[in-house]
Symmetry: C2
Subunit: 397 residues, 2 copies
Amino acid sequence: MQRLLIGFLIVCSVLFSVSCAAQETAVPMLVEKQRFSFDNYTTLGGEVIPQVTIGWESYGELNETKDNVILITHFFSGNSHAAGKYAADDMMPGYWDSIIGPGKAIDTNKYFVISSDTLVNAFPNDPNVITTGPASMNPATGEPYGLDFPVVTIRDFVNVQHELLKSLGIEKLHAVVGASMGSLQALEWSVAYPDMVERMVSVIGAGAMDAWTIMALEHWARPIKHDPNFNGGDYYGGEAPLTGITSTLAMITQQAMHPVIMNMRAPQPEVMPETALESVLNSTPVLDYLFANSANRAPLADGNHLLYLVRANQLFVAGHDGDLASAMAKVKAKTLFMPATNDLLLQPYLARKVVEVLKQQGKDPQYSEIEGIWGHLDGLFSIPSKAEELRAFLESE
Amino acid sequence: MQRLLIGFLIVCSVLFSVSCAAQETAVPMLVEKQRFSFDNYTTLGGEVIPQVTIGWESYGELNETKDNVILITHFFSGNSHAAGKYAADDMMPGYWDSIIGPGKAIDTNKYFVISSDTLVNAFPNDPNVITTGPASMNPATGEPYGLDFPVVTIRDFVNVQHELLKSLGIEKLHAVVGASMGSLQALEWSVAYPDMVERMVSVIGAGAMDAWTIMALEHWARPIKHDPNFNGGDYYGGEAPLTGITSTLAMITQQAMHPVIMNMRAPQPEVMPETALESVLNSTPVLDYLFANSANRAPLADGNHLLYLVRANQLFVAGHDGDLASAMAKVKAKTLFMPATNDLLLQPYLARKVVEVLKQQGKDPQYSEIEGIWGHLDGLFSIPSKAEELRAFLESE
């Protein structure tokens, strides 16, 4: 039952705070969460993390030549669980189960699909997440790092995944595919390891953070930074900044959804609701729909981890070493960009900008907008509409 | 100099936190802020406010038959200063000076244009704002009301304006025109006093709050409610909840702007900025552009007032007495709706919904979208593109 509940929380509620639109297969693909550790990782900023551990899982079989690998990189609130179920009676499968599996667009009969947790995952208190970040024990002190953990970047997420692949003897990626923050990692892979990546798929993504998005991300950080329990990130012995985390998760959930779908799912606003008229501090069913749900999920998240994730995203420009054009000049992979037309969080102009830059360099990026009423979440819930396009891209030479 | 500074703060920075796009006329129209008080106002919720005082100003002359009146209703962060200057050397004129004045679309050679502060104005500490709200003295205690102030609605804003007009002997409105929260008041006027309102113009507006917008507004309230200085709204003897207010103003500013204009005006993001890599708590020039500016404006705002304004907006459904259709059935005014195509805060679907309802009732609403790169603020800065359409509407029978 605990397992059931956790599965449901992770796949549906934790990730999207709405019931999941992913399709269940009749016979679920069973998957197992695994653990990868290595020592002395040096961050892009030049700091050393003595011990890094992340979780990962895979679907399909690695072939002998180890050249049938597709890497899936996860979004801000996500984790490695992209497809299948951990147990046959899990309520929901992984977030992209609609496109990953036997015979599906990302066909596990052909490909060895691997997906890992990132560093500083948002939900380290979720028993299915294995990550290293400020909530991890600092071997130098025997206490959680807190803000002594070094600031990390999307490139660091990629470099840690590279270590994982190396440990499996994988030197080539048939493709790397990611949504949202996962798209930043996918693109960064094609810049950081251009000879290793054959195909890159950016779903609801960007090539560099613009000022508007950097500011939007900061609104997610402030409620945690200014929570009275935050205490400069040193709260592990006491009360966690749950009020701030609740605000943050509620903003993420709302901004990932378009008004059309939110209004379809939320309670109807009342005319002159008595409790709302009594005090400006009182809630209403409409507000509870978003905020009570976020409050329920908050204990699985960690405040510092959310701040580190925000910062990693704020710092993103592909390549981390100049402008977008100089980074794109390094890319050798075939590329496919799939923003969502109604996305209000990472709007299609961000993907279009990368496509323009690649075209100016004589490359041939593919571009295909996902239509839907979910907004940003169309990258997860409306992806079946792009399944054949994705399959064709993966099968192309 | 103080006056200059205040004028600049109000018209540009306080309202939009960006430099103002309103055009200055060669010879400014000079206007004077006035004060209107009356006793024992009973709110829509049935509570009595013993003394109400609001500020107002006017442009043009009231004719003898008192039937040349156009009422302007202000937006969330606004006040009565819609046009002209208080002093010839004010840096900026009122927010709609581009369309209000002699010979302009709202022609002060023809019309007596009147504009008032609302109840619970967001910036009661701005010396040019005159309002009644939780920061006002409660005559029963000799202390500020705090959360003892009754919850008020958009209808209450309208009813207080009605008292002001009554005191001037005005029984007919040639038109009522408002942007954003001002559009809610304009529409409410046409429902509450249908025999009094001949024309109604809703700019960047809505007919009723939907669940999505009610939630979006709550994000503005939470940083104040959860500021350690908030103290249940009883902070007038101590430190104000300025950190929370700063978060709130920054969200309002960002959501009122489209990424295109924000990215044009903000500093360019740096690649691997040293301070940002040092600590997740450090700011960057991009973040300072938004948040340091909001922090500067915060002392002019009041936390409780912002909460009351949020609640008034959350409670809005035209008529406050049933659904949108039953309210629109009461409307006798000619109506014109002007949402902004790129608005991310009150998106055009909200105005379209009112238009559909009116058409279903056999009425003939006019609809015209404002194009621009400002987003919500196109309702202020791109309104000159609609000047002739507005003029024609006001001159029509």
